[in-house]
Point group: C2
Chain length 910, copies 2
């Protein structure tokens, strides 16, 4: 058989030729082998060696553990070539060539054979090497390592059989550290190890170097089908027919004179600074650095110890970066002043470093802006914008047992403050006493919002990632952990317990909204800001450019653009200003009902709801009108020149009323005590009359407007009066009125024209004109299924994917996570929480259908998303694919979304 | 212009030729004109005449109220032809031809011009006719009618101007009846009427017969654009450009010697008996019969009075039936012994008559079985199966002001009984005292079922057509009215009020579940049964034949059949037997949870739910197993040879627990009184922990099984143990296990294999084998959207359209009707209540997609529907169109569904 089974490192070209690509060469040689070849090819000093291919591995396993014909002969030839390259000879006591043997599959995976070093040593070469080097300790240390590794790794003898004799030996001698072992000690131990092999295997440690090589090669092949490796591949979804390569490489020794070894990054992986960063040790072997046996030095100190090697090292780093176009994580050894590179791979780094490196590399001409943008994961940006607990402080707190609960990581960021259990106290403590407050509740409701806004952080014992607390927290960038189910709140005692820990009102806790962890006491945090992060701003600017140009390039026939803009959800002018400063190109959702909950307005709202007649209702609404107008005025001014989508009232009216349960208790108590309060009694019956079995599917949104059109009439008047005023002050308002919860086009046909009339009337009254739109949310599956009809009226669609997911799955947002959804995700029934990431197969398909049907009726239909998914990168990718015009998310997630949008545009380039 | 504007009755062929069809001729001539032509064509004696076309009307109106060129000339020619046919002459005093003028559009509609009779009379012809007939009273009666009708109908003078003088005249003379008026009186009144015209119009009543004809023709044309006609057309969706025809017909007089007039049906319209049925009066004009001035005689008595005319009449009736192939409703006049037919049209009839006539006509060879089946509306069958209030009794009760409320007609049938307000009392009164009970509740819950089953009728003040009360009532055929919102129940006083009426416990009321009306006291009802209705059984047999043959004929390529079978929803053996006797071909839904509510089981169920450990739960389930096995045993035996779909537990567990609200009140009361009951306290906290904000979207169905697999394991064991036992007794069980509420195929992948293992284990234990299926309900929109995936596991789909509608619309079934849905339907926002009739555009499209996707994965996927819609004819039609295999409905609706299924097959014949 004429197949080529073995490639010298310098033959990587041939592997590429044979397979037709670099990827093919990687598959054939495995990652490590290909990379060693690649370094060799570009002239980086790599100790010579060769790779036995993954195909050889497969052939060996298929043939029932027999080398394929010709393979061993090729291995022997390759060894000859290495001998020529090194001037040493394998098995020759006069000038022995020692090699290492390492596995190397395409994907690195656990369970594969560990390294065997110093192959080629035997009693004879060892003895001769002692004479040659005059360093018996070095030689016998190397020899005992070979016998140990060979025994445990190649022959599968329990590692304990080797560790135990070493421990006993040191104990006997009174040594504490391996460094105390001298040449005789290592020699003695080598003999002991050989005896272990004889005892366990029934044969001697092979003295023949070629026998060593053969057995090591086979051991690597066999390890491909080891149980751990198979399990891992099954779990990770890696194919079982890839096979592993075997890398045989000349040993180099840093533990000699004028020698050393180190690990380093070509740039600072924590900050991104363009300076080589790492550690090295003089007179040491690679594993010594990792093991931390001696204190390692800054790699840049090599300049003094090994000036030539250092200069070479910097050159190699630059070369590698230029070649790989990425920061590298390298291992190297200096042997007698000569630098040898043993490994290179892309280096891991912090988010901050990732951004700086990407931006720097564009400046250095190493990579394009597109590549820079693609290198930063959107979620990495998130960590750059929220305060973070300092890693070490958090680790210390964990070690000290201060972590008392975990929950759903609902809104990222670190918060430290004193615990308060109700919104009023929380607000008072924060505002009046200037305390940092953590609001702790079983769950939150709209009338808790003033307390939440005053808090630094929020912790709830119930609810999931889209519970009220979570949504509000993300909206306002407040760190929040929800559904911490071990927390049991006792409102009467004003304390909570978690396990055996009790936290009283006023005690400090620390809430990590990014990880979902909650701690006793105060942990130190650091807080970055977007304005200061110039590299990030640069990167986001590029992302926007890409979105715009790719959007135009990829636009389907007849569309102006496919560009996915990023808008923000904002209810108040302050949020809108922040959103704009974070790069939002519009407001995709302003929730008007938040405005109804403000303390001075709520009583008017309640009077409006309880009104017996349309007149009485209109009277209350007339009082609310100026408030709403003021709300909108600021919003339009802040967003001048950009669209602002205002959603008309959505929640069921009972949300604005006092809690039924508490009122009931009070009323019953009064009745029993004989102190009946008629007002409370009648309030209770009103609230009871409003009770709905399933309020999420109840009298809300446009249904409410059909039954009670006065409220939205007031709102539309307020919107257009505000817009007119703003226009008259010289700004450019672009109001878009969004009608929620449409299920049938006839609902719009009834309501929308009446509202449009109000809009026109106001503009006429004020003598001013401006563009506006009327549209609808798509939250009801039926609206999506009949989008062709709905688009006859609606000028825009905005996917309310929270509710759309809720109805499409039939999952109550309020309960699902607590009751079954967490388990569903844990058990893999659902790949992801559909309230966090759009379920593409179900909800996503419905969205796609909706856009297609809607644009079939109205080609220029503006389509966007304002649900929580608008800030989720995976969901943003889907939004791009189905051709939405924008995603709208919390202001704090706008930078993430900008990056994700650019990623989507790049991912889907034809 | 050479257009033909006027057609003699005998020229109907020409109209057909010109337009190319009989339908075209009808459009051209209007319904009345075409029918008079048709009768003329087939040789039925019709007084000669002609029709001015609808096109002429349109041309007249378009030209600004001018006759189109040539039209009037054609009318004059047609009049000459009529003169020739009759031998009389229009306007000739010696032998005057008198004619009537009537409008006649394609659709009959209110607001069109009424009839004008006796055109052609004037002072001169009247005077000469008196001489010729020697009957001055007859002549002046006719003349005064002409002047009156002409004045009011043609000249639009207020009718009161003519009625008033007649009343005054009679008063003055001391007459009570018109019959007391003699010739002189009528002559005098004619003069008075002429004066009225002169006074109102400023001109004289036209003496020129042609002038009379012309004005009458114009008046008919103009009436097309009268306000009432336009309003009606707008409301009924009739096009405004159809126009009306004008029919001019020779007058015949029944008020002469040897003359008479009558109205009749060719068969008995109440019973369907094949005997001419109707009334006639000797010496009278048509309107006298209708006005009931004298007591009319049975039309068959004409045999004695006018034997030849009677014989001719029977011949004509037979001829008309043979021609029209339908029972006819006719008007006729006998003038001097000669029979003239004035009108024929399809006769209205009762449901009972409709069935008998259709079946008889098949026997007589008049129509095919298909036609017979198509002639009965499915809803008509409904009225044949439920007890009905006797119409006259109900009318009398209304007249007496006894109807005190109306609500949703939730379950048809008439029920009379005494009012009781809770299930226990209702059951006790019914069982122990044998009373007829009407259970009255605000709404019902599963634990009210025992009271409902014991009741003759149910009335609720809340809830809609698919509320619990409605569903249960229909399921068990109990007359039921829900959502009677005027009814206010006072549980403390044990009474309810509706307006100013108060009904105390024990009082009688009568509930009409077909109309939604509720009455004080007892109204008499009559109760038919299917077995006795042989004609209906024959018809349903034909319907089944048609479904089967059309199903095979219309099956798409590769499908075994498109046949839509009718299955039934049945929980108990007794229901199953009834369903089978009503023609059900399987059980499409057996709800296992009803079985959990039975009093002896409920405590075990509650213990199971509250169990702290899986062991404790399994122990309780072991106790339930024998109960469930017995339930299923009877069901399989009753349905031997046919499929029985059993749904595993579906509702949230808290439905099996005591009412939280009531318990809370009790606990609070105890707390305040200091008599704390620890069991109640802990029960309350357990129930509170189970509380869900939106239970419809909560922990139900397969979600429950994922979290708590023990329950369904028990159920599947019970199903298969029962089936095995039944099989061993020699029956043929075909169990199909239905898993509810699937939203993601992974749910099925987790649960279904475990249940299939239990099935196999039981069959092995029992040493018996039989076919079975595992499948799922399609209730969650996502399951439909991903049906291709779901069908990988599920062997059948059953649409749970109640929930599917609920989620697709985002309407809570429990609240929607009360809160907005009734208004939505009333205002036409929704064309129909989607919980009663499938919403084809939304839910229906989703169903279609589901079937297509499901069959794409599994060609022989059994698809059916078990929601409430399965018994609704309109929905059944849709189910046929999308290719379902069966519809399953309440046993009582099986006959309706069988007929509807055949209709669908016939409607969609290629």
């Amino acid at each position: 058989m004429s197949d080529k089974w073995v490639y010298l490192f310098k033959e990587v070209d041939k592997a590429e030729e044979k397979t037709g690509s670099w990827g093919g060469a990687r598959s054939l040689l495995g990652g490590k082998g290909a990379n060693l070849g690649e370094m060799t090819r570009i002239g980086v000093p790599v100790p010579p060696g060769f790779t036995v291919t993954t195909e050889a591995c497969n052939a060996y396993l298929e043939a029932g553990e027999e080398f394929p014909p010709g393979m061993w002969e090729q291995e022997l030839e390759a060894m000859k070539a290495v001998e020529e390259l090194t001037g040493k000879k394998f098995g020759d006591p006069e000038n022995p060539l020692l090699v290492s043997c390492r596995s190397g599959a395409v994907f690195s995976m656990p369970g594969m054979m560990d390294t065997v070093l110093n192959i080629g040593l035997n009693d004879e070469t060892a003895a001769r090497m002692v004479e040659l080097t005059d360093d018996p300790r070095f030689v016998y240390d190397a020899y005992r390592r070979l016998v140990h590794m060979f025994g445990s790794v190649v022959l599968n003898i329990d590692d304990e059989e080797f560790e135990h004799p070493l421990d006993s030996y040191k104990k006997e001698k009174g040594y504490k550290l391996d460094t105390e072992m001298n040449a005789e000690d290592w020699q003695a131990l080598t003999e002991t190890y050989k005896a272990v092999i004889k005892k366990e295997m029934g044969f001697d440690f092979p003295q023949d170097p070629y026998e060593q090589l053969k057995l090591a090669t086979e051991a690597v092949f066999k390890s491909w089908n080891g149980k751990r490796a198979i399990d891992y591949r099954n779990a990770a979804g890696i194919a079982h027919n890839l096979g592993t390569g075997v890398n045989i490489q000349t040993m180099v020794f840093g533990n000699m004179d004028n020698s050393g070894t180190g690990v380093a990054f070509t740039r600072n992986p924590a900050t991104g600074e363009n300076v080589v960063w790492g550690e090295y040790l003089m007179n040491a072997q690679g594993e010594d650095v990792v093991a931390g046996i001696r204190n390692a030095s800054d790699v840049n100190e090599m300049k003094n110890d090994l000036p030539q090697a250092y200069a070479d090292f910097l050159d190699v780093c630059a070369k590698l970066e230029k070649h790989y176009r990425e920061m590298q994580d390298v291992e190297f050894t200096v042997e007698n002043g000569k630098l040898w590179m043993l490994q290179t791979r892309d280096g891991k780094r912090t988010a901050k470093a990732a951004v700086q490196i990407a931006v720097d590399m564009v400046g250095e001409g190493l990579i394009s802006k597109e590549e820079a943008v693609l290198r930063i994961k959107p979620e990495q940006v998130d960590t750059l914008l929220h305060p973070q607990f300092i890693i070490e402080e958090k680790s210390a707190a964990k070690a000290a047992g201060k972590m008392f609960a975990t929950g759903v990581n609902a809104s990222p960021g670190a918060a430290v403050g004193r615990v308060y259990f109700d919104a009023d106290t929380a607000e008072a403590k924060a505002k009046e006493e200037g305390q940092d407050v953590i609001m702790v509740r079983p769950f939150t409701k709209p009338d808790d919002v003033h307390g939440m806004l005053a808090a630094k952080g929020i912790l709830t014992s119930e609810g999931g990632a889209t519970s009220h607390a979570a949504v509000v927290a993300r909206q306002f960038g407040i760190p929040c952990v929800v559904g911490a189910s071990s927390v049991r709140i006792d409102m009467e005692k004003r304390q909570f317990t978690a396990g055996d820990i009790t936290v009283k009102e006023g005690d400090y806790i620390s809430v990590d909204g990014a990880s979902g962890e909650v701690f006793l006491g105060q942990i130190e945090a650091s807080a970055p800001s977007l304005e200061e992060q110039t590299d990030l701003l640069t990167l986001l600017g590029w992302a926007d450019e890409i979105s715009a140009t790719e959007g135009i390039r990829q636009a389907p026939e007849g569309w102006p653009t496919r560009g996915l803009q990023v808008w923000a959800n904002a209810d108040y002018p302050e949020d809108a200003r922040r959103a704009r400063s974070y790069g939002a190109k519009g407001i995709g959702l302003c929730r008007t009902e938040h405005m109804f909950f403000e303390p001075e307005r709520l009583p008017i709202v309640q009077r409006m709801i309880l009104a017996d007649s349309s007149e009485e209702r209109t009277k209350a609404l007339d009082e609310l009108l100026p408030f709403q107008r003021t709300d909108f005025d600021g919003l339009f001014e802040a967003m001048t020149g950009l669209p602002v989508i205002i959603r008309l009232i959505d929640p069921p009216l009972h949300e604005f009323m006092p809690d039924e349960h508490a009122l009931l208790e009070e009323v019953i108590e009064n009745r029993i005590k004989g102190t009946v309060d008629q007002d409370k009694e009648s309030l209770l019956s009103s609230i009871e009359a409003m009770h709905e079995s399933n309020p999420m599917m109840g009298l809300r949104g446009i249904r409410l407007s059909v039954m009670m059109p006065e409220i939205v009439s007031m709102q539309v008047r307020a919107i257009f009066e505000a817009a007119a005023d703003v226009k008259l002050r010289g700004f450019e308002p672009h109001p878009e009125v969004m009608i929620p919860l449409t299920g049938h086009v006839n609902e719009l046909k009834l309501i929308q024209p009446k509202l449009e009339e109000i809009a026109k009337a106001v503009m006429e009254e004020k003598g001013v004109e401006f563009a506006y739109k009327f549209g609808t949310m798509i939250e009801i599956p039926r609206a999506g299924l009949t989008a062709d009809q709905v688009a006859e009226e609606a000028e825009f669609f905005s996917f309310g994917t929270n509710d759309l997911t809720q109805f499409t799955f039939g999952y109550s947002r309020d309960d699902a996570e607590r009751n079954f959804l967490v388990k569903y995700v844990e058990d893999g029934i659902l790949p992801k929480n559909p309230f966090q990431t759009i379920d593409r197969d179900g909800v996503g398909q419905l969205m796609k259908l909706t856009v297609e049907k809607g644009r079939g009726t109205r080609l220029n239909l503006e389509c966007g998303i304002c649900g929580e998914h608008g800030g989720d990168p995976n969901s943003i990718d889907w939004c791009y694919q189905i051709g939405l015009n924008y995603v709208s998310c919390s202001p704090f997630r706008v930078p993430i979304a900008r990056l994700a949008a650019a990623h989507a545009a790049l991912e889907h380039r034809a």
